[in-house]
Homo-oligomer: 218 residues x 2
Amino acid sequence: MELFEAIYRRRDVRDFGPDEIPRETLGIILDAAHHAGSVGFMQPWNFTIIRSQETQSTIADLVAEENNKAAGNYIGIEREKYLSLHLEAIRSAPVNIAVTCDSSRGGPHVAGRNTMPETDVYSTCCAIQNLWLAARAEGVGMCWVSLLDPERVKEILEIPPEITLVGYLCLGIPEYFEDRPHLEQQGWKTRTPLEEVVFYESWNQKATEPIQTVRENS
Amino acid sequence: MELFEAIYRRRDVRDFGPDEIPRETLGIILDAAHHAGSVGFMQPWNFTIIRSQETQSTIADLVAEENNKAAGNYIGIEREKYLSLHLEAIRSAPVNIAVTCDSSRGGPHVAGRNTMPETDVYSTCCAIQNLWLAARAEGVGMCWVSLLDPERVKEILEIPPEITLVGYLCLGIPEYFEDRPHLEQQGWKTRTPLEEVVFYESWNQKATEPIQTVRENS
């Protein structure tokens, strides 16, 4: 798949069919993640693959708990919308991946990390984006479940306290990929025009005309 | 360009030729960034484009200062290696982009962000990875300069205190893209085998055999 096709057709997928992810496909996806850039070539990430139904189920219970708490922030139709967002896909995904960051990797002085130590976690997020795009290209759907208490998940997976849980991902083979982001399709939110998020030379200085995003001759 | 080609051939580029980045190319790259996933479709990012030589120069001075401090952590050959790493490419890049995250965007309750509020910054990193890959596909080199004091950069760009500076990027047209990461090419570090970073079911449980990353029939 072309890069731009993968970027524009990537979705947060929360409905999976019954098919397994072939072992070689998972390898390809993980290798793509591992080829993200990292501060000082630190490669601070680990990917813990969870296929065990029992572990997935324990983690899904945590998410359900947080989901109920979060739904309390909304009322009426908003609340119904919220609960219908399928915030939990853990049990139905054949593969879960806990993505973590080890801040001690590479020793005490990692090139380029002196003033912004958080760049190790940022590198790990870049790896997740590679993973997400590679999954899309391989026909694998993925969602990033963030409605969980990272410390409790770490305990379940025996991840040491000093390691950061960055993302908890669910992967599976979807029936289809939606044309637009699910939250947009459901009328929850729309995409902000590009012109609103791009500034020139300093904060909040916007373009006076539309930003060209396709070639004139294409 | 194919997705996997972009992933495997993306580099942290710090040497740029004299050519400008065409306006439409920059638009294409920014639009790719804007199409990253974000927690609760929050789209918390902004991209401040800096072409002003004066602003670039002021920021480059900050980086040079931090670079000298950081070099103090190394001695002898290590130090020479460190200083030769071209940690500063700000002045030679026609375009700098300050990527920021606005944690207040989307109001007080963003779907999926209750337990891990930091996921807004994580989404912004995903946008940066999209930007990096899109740049690569368009023949534009990019480096992520992290050796700077984010608060001082924010002052220069008049970015409000409550906004997070996530990444400071330099983009330009390189003479060539290196085959391997610069830090690997320079003998600074090597890529960790994939088998070392992938665990199964719980922390530190590694595979007993190599992970397949290409199709048998390819």
